[in-house]
């Protein structure tokens, strides 16, 4: 481009600030105040639902439905925390446990199966590898949710209704996750593996001892994304979990919503509890999560 004409002095100056992406325009004070004002306002809007959950969870019902809007509970009802667990109509603790089991096994299984396949497709020379890859890509065009009717038929004929097997196994074979792992492994430095292979390791050995330990960031990111989607999924657990003992926390929440009696503070406390583990995971692992999403290969 035109950078050839840049005088050396300018280049030195640029090195100083290279850590932060510098704007060409040196934003005026008014401009940046406006920017912060707009961003802050948008942030407030994004935080309102979280605030409402906490507010309603810690209020009494008369306060929530009262004539006058109250921004904060006059008397914080800490006792509300135990209410979802005491409520006999929905076994809330059981649903949390089901979600935890499903979420963890779903994550471990998906990562294992999809990362191996992604690596095989990206790295192992096999003459029909492309055809196999297209067979995987083809399933991306058929969203899993659209196949829920036939999948339900299959799973019910296997007798897997109301079981962990039924909740977990059909969801492990995600074409999208496999695709993301393939994209990632394509960019993995080849030299590392080749060194391992020259030292006498087979494909499997090189994979477990060299590739995986050097990809932990990406695995952490994918684990977070997979766990979040497992914990939050609703349609499949709704279809499979017909007996209340097999409900996940999302199905339980949905049942509160459509239930006969509306018990506001209980419902919002249950919601808060259902979100809390994820928000925690999320804030804790955010760095990897953002990196992982940015690395997924869908960027320009």
């Amino acid at each position: 481009m035109t950078t050839t004409t840049t005088p050396p002095a300018d280049r030195v100056e640029r090195v100083d600030v290279s850590a932060k992406p510098r704007r060409v325009r040196s934003g005026s004070v008014i401009g940046s105040a406006g920017l912060y004002l707009a961003t802050g306002f948008a942030a407030l809007l994004f935080l309102i639902p979280f605030y409402l959950i906490v507010r309603n969870a810690l209020m009494t019902d008369p306060e929530i439905t009262g004539e006058e809007w109250k921004w904060f509970p006059t008397d914080i009802q800490w006792g509300n925390i135990s209410e979802p667990f005491d409520d006999p109509s929905v076994d809330f603790a059981r649903s949390l446990w089901n979600s935890a089991v499903v979420g963890v096994l779903h994550t471990v299984g998906t990562l294992l199966v999809c990362s191996l396949a992604g690596y095989g497709l990206a790295r192992i020379p096999y003459k029909h590898a492309n055809k196999v890859f297209y067979a995987v890509l083809g399933t991306l065009m058929v969203p899993t949710a659209v196949t829920f009717v036939p999948s339900f038929v299959l799973v019910s004929s296997l007798g897997w209704i109301d079981t962990y097997r039924g909740l977990i196994i059909p969801g492990l074979f995600s074409g999208f996750t496999c695709f993301l792992f393939r994209q990632y492994f394509l960019g993995f430095p080849k030299e590392l593996e080749e060194a391992a292979r020259v030292d006498g390791l087979g494909y499997m050995g090189a994979y477990w001892r060299v590739v995986v330990p050097n990809s932990l960031n990406f695995f952490a990111a994918m684990a977070t994304i997979t766990f979040i989607s497992g914990w939050n999924s609703f349609l499949w657990p709704l279809v499979i979990g017909q007996d209340p003992s097999a409900w996940t926390v999302q199905v339980a929440l949905s049942n509160y919503m459509t239930g006969q009696t509306v018990n506001f503070h209980l419902i919002f406390m249950a919601t808060a509890i259902s979100i809390l583990p994820l928000v925690f995971v999320f804030l804790f692992l955010q760095r990897w999560l953002v990196q992982g999403i940015a690395q997924t290969g869908i960027k320009g």
Binding site: L35, T65, T147, V149, P150, L154, R197
Partner: protein
């Protein structure tokens, strides 16, 4: 590959073959390893994706109510039933309206947030987290907040309280299709849930734009702001935009959770998946018609994806790199 042993060894051949891969019998062969790595995934894919699709295809030609092992072949009747079914066709209309709003809305919002956050000098990580945080919330939980606390149609709902300040009467947001206020509820809940995720994709793409391009543009006299955005930022984001739009469209097709939970007792405002859910798993348990509907949808999605790929050049950005 094994040419060395067949005829007289010519000197350049082994030099070409030897340095790359040491291999020892079957365990070391790439073909064996390829299947070892991909086998478990492919078997699962065959059983839980391909088999259901084929089974669905089979079921769709049979009368299959309350049973998944049907006997009465009825040809394309299920397809005719679905294509003339007012509710199913209505659900396609619902989807079209939904996609027409939610895709550009989310595209614009996530890009706008990315541009704002990317410009911040300090507290950038904080604001990014705030916008990203809803990604952790489930559609069910968010629907609950929207339905019971923001748009609950009575006086203590946040939206009605706010409008009350301006003397506007209570609005029953979800109670009737006319006026269709329920769209406001449906669209805002999804926008809140997914904008942050796509914002991250845009931020990643923005940071990939070489700074020199902006400097060169400044030298060439482009005014910062609208001009640089239109002539540099936007074209540079083309590949990401295309991918984002495609992902948004596929996600819109799969819309279920918020419609199901927000409009649980209504017969209107049902996107295809909700309609199919009621058809196949509702009182009639019509697996045949449900399967036919699922296949019609799948074909539609494939068509739209291919068309979009043609028009917007999906994948072209990747190849050119």
């Amino acid at each position: 590959m094994s040419t060395i042993t067949k005829d007289g060894v010519s000197s350049p051949a082994p030099a070409k073959a030897s340095p790359a891969k040491p291999r020892r019998g079957l365990r070391g062969s790439p073909t064996f390893n390829f299947w070892l790595f991909t086998g478990p995934f492919l078997i699962g894919l065959a059983i839980f994706v391909y088999l259901p699709i084929l089974w669905s295809l089979y079921l769709s030609f049979f009368e299959a109510r309350f049973t998944v092992t049907p006997s009465e072949f009825i040809g394309v009747d299920n397809y005719v039933t679905m294509l003339t079914d007012e509710d199913f066709m209505g659900s396609l209309v619902t989807f079209t309206i939904f996609a027409a709003f939610i895709v550009p809305l989310t595209w614009g919002t996530s890009l706008g947030l990315a541009l704002m956050v990317n410009r911040l000098r300090f507290m950038r990580a904080f604001f990014r987290s705030v916008f990203f945080l809803p990604t952790a919330v489930s559609y069910v939980a968010a629907s609950l907040v929207w339905k019971m606390s923001i748009f609950n149609g009575v006086r203590f709902g946040l939206a009605n309280t706010f409008l009350g300040l301006f003397g506007i009467d209570n609005t029953a947001w979800l109670a009737s299709p006319d006026p269709p206020w329920y769209w406001l509820v449906i669209l805002t809940v999804r926008l809140w849930l997914q904008a942050g995720f796509y914002m991250i994709l845009f931020i990643a793409a923005l940071q990939n734009i070489p700074q020199e391009m902006y400097e060169a543009a400044a030298i060439d006299g482009a005014k910062p702001g609208w001009q640089t955005f239109w002539y540099i930022t936007l074209p540079q984001l083309r590949a990401t935009s295309t991918a984002v739009i495609l992902l948004l469209l596929v996600a819109a097709y799969q819309a279920f959770d918020e419609f199901f939970n927000l409009l649980s007792k209504t017969t209107w405002g049902r996107p295809p998946l909700v309609e199919l859910y009621h058809k196949a798993l509702g009182e009639s348990q019509d697996y045949g018609a449900g399967s036919a509907g699922a296949l019609i949808l799948t074909v539609l999605i494939c068509l739209v994806t291919l068309l979009q790929g043609k028009f917007m050049g999906f994948g072209r950005g990747e190849e050119s790199k």
